[in-house]
Symmetry: C2
Subunit: 314 residues, 2 copies
């Protein structure tokens, strides 16, 4: 069911696989959002800080990284319902993702006024509050992972901490953002563009898959396979994002678009063109499907996710 | 040897206890600085980010939190040389402390140009780089704690993660900074001032002591006692800091002083006066000494540290 060309030509009415994926995404988004809302209603968080953290995390987003954590945990556990702790770990990685958006949107960084169709945190509050809300969400992510509710085995929890910290740290997401800012003042070559994307976007998507594998108790080979799947869809995610930036109108995606081109920022789409990017996306989807083949039918949800990443319109 | 009134009247030539403490502080500062420098020379960190992280962490600071981690580990281990992992944990808490200074110094926050007599990170680099260097140091702290080099037992490592994340997060240090910013626009009462100080400064000092207790394998009762010791010297540390802000000239402490009064910021010294604060400091030192009494002579270094916190001049 993975070879019918859905990637290249998404129809106006979703297939059954796509409908099931969208249902699952919505279900996971709802579950993770409720878990985050509970964490952010703790009485010992100062009111204004909690409000800014909620503004930056609740009420939107596809929750794609939580989806990957939970579905990779499910797949690693033989397709069974994933452990409840997977929701905690999913909330942790989403908290970290949301912190990065809040800081990236700051005037000193990308200077964005809108995120998911709403004012960014520094516009709704102020710069200082946005910096602190980001710091607090980043720290909260590790507090959640340290909680026995995430996994009863301390060895599994500390493994999750290590995966998330490496992916989010100076050699991962934050390093990628640093290179990305520097690239605005230069004309980066393809190698640099790929390094930036791998660090800034890819590392956390790969981490989501690896964390799911740990939560599901995957053997080393399966964990490596799911991490590689994360690498591949991370690349696809970024390529699709670059295409969106070129193609879409602002009202479709709820944030300013065309901004990469406005700034002369190099992307693979800018370097090689949209047709090349679409062909490359199809190759990546095929590779992702190949990586999931050993898991059999239980991996259908993740296969459809790879196709969705490649042909999404928002 | 703890009842000779050294707190109230520090002499011009240090006592033997003070000299031993200063030696130990210098030795630990040097050890932790080298460990941080190694971590920050990793080849996979982008150059500019690594340079900003080094600027914000190396070349200064008393390293008081690392001292507490290592000395509490030593004391919990019966006075023996602390495990090498204590240096890793000390580097982690110092990385987190330095991130907080970098972010606090930003124009959107306290807007400081100098730190330890040097330009702050955003002055030496730029605001975006300072934000990212802080984010990277915060994340690195948890990466270090997840490393088996910190402690061979995963249960101990995840315990350290939990302690540090709670102390640094929205109900701890970051929450305290949020309340502190809000207090600039109001006239906080004593309860609010105490809450701010407990969260903003006290939580991390308490965490340092608790982390040391975990590293040294302390029993629950000793861990609670050392945490309470951390609470007490955290209070003393903040009171002494407020006194310094009033008393000292800028060249003595390497940063702008008198700024609390400039901003009309409430401190306990402003509310009750310097004489009250000095009397309160003496009480806190006595309480700290009482908490350490059951540990006997092995705790002399920490006793002297409590006196040092109270009478320090920078």
């Amino acid at each position: 069911m993975a070879q019918n060309g859905k990637t290249a030509q998404p129809g106006p009415s979703p297939t059954a696989d796509r409908a099931a994926l969208l249902d699952r995404l919505a279900e996971i988004a709802d579950t993770v959002e409720r878990r985050l809302a509970e964490r952010l209603s703790a009485a010992d968080i100062p009111d204004r800080l909690a409000a800014a953290m909620r503004h930056g995390t609740l009420g939107g987003g596809k929750r794609f990284r939580p989806f990957l954590v939970i579905e990779c945990a499910r797949l690693s556990g033989g397709g069974a319902v994933p452990p409840d702790g997977a929701v905690e770990a999913a909330a942790a990685i989403e908290a970290l993702h949301c912190y990065s958006l809040i800081h990236d949107d700051l005037p000193a960084m990308d200077d964005d006024d809108l995120r998911r169709g709403q004012p960014t945190v520094h516009r709704a509050f102020d710069d200082a509050t946005a910096i602190l809300a980001g710091d607090a969400l980043l720290t909260l992510a590790f507090e959640i992972l340290s909680d026995p509710a995430t996994h009863p085995d301390p060895a599994a929890r500390i493994c999750l901490v290590g995966i998330l910290a490496r992916a989010g740290g100076p050699a991962g997401m934050v390093g990628g953002q640093m290179l990305d800012l520097a690239a605005e003042h230069a004309a980066p070559n393809e190698e640099t563009v790929r390094r930036i994307q791998s660090m800034k976007t890819g590392a956390l998507i790969t981490a989501a898959c690896a964390m799911g594998a740990v939560l599901g108790g995957a053997a080393d080979a399966d964990r490596a396979r799911l991490s590689r799947f994360g690498d591949v869809i991370g690349l696809a995610f970024q390529l699709a994002d670059d295409l969106l930036d070129v193609d879409a109108a602002a009202e479709d995606v709820g944030k300013r678009t065309g901004k990469d081109a406005d700034r002369g920022k190099a992307t693979l789409v800018a370097l090689h063109g949209a047709a090349w990017a679409r062909s490359c996306l199809a190759d990546l989807v095929a590779e992702a499907e190949g990586l999931l083949a050993p898991f059999g039918p239980a991996a259908e949800m993740l296969r459809e996710a790879a196709r969705f990443v490649a042909d999404r319109r928002s």
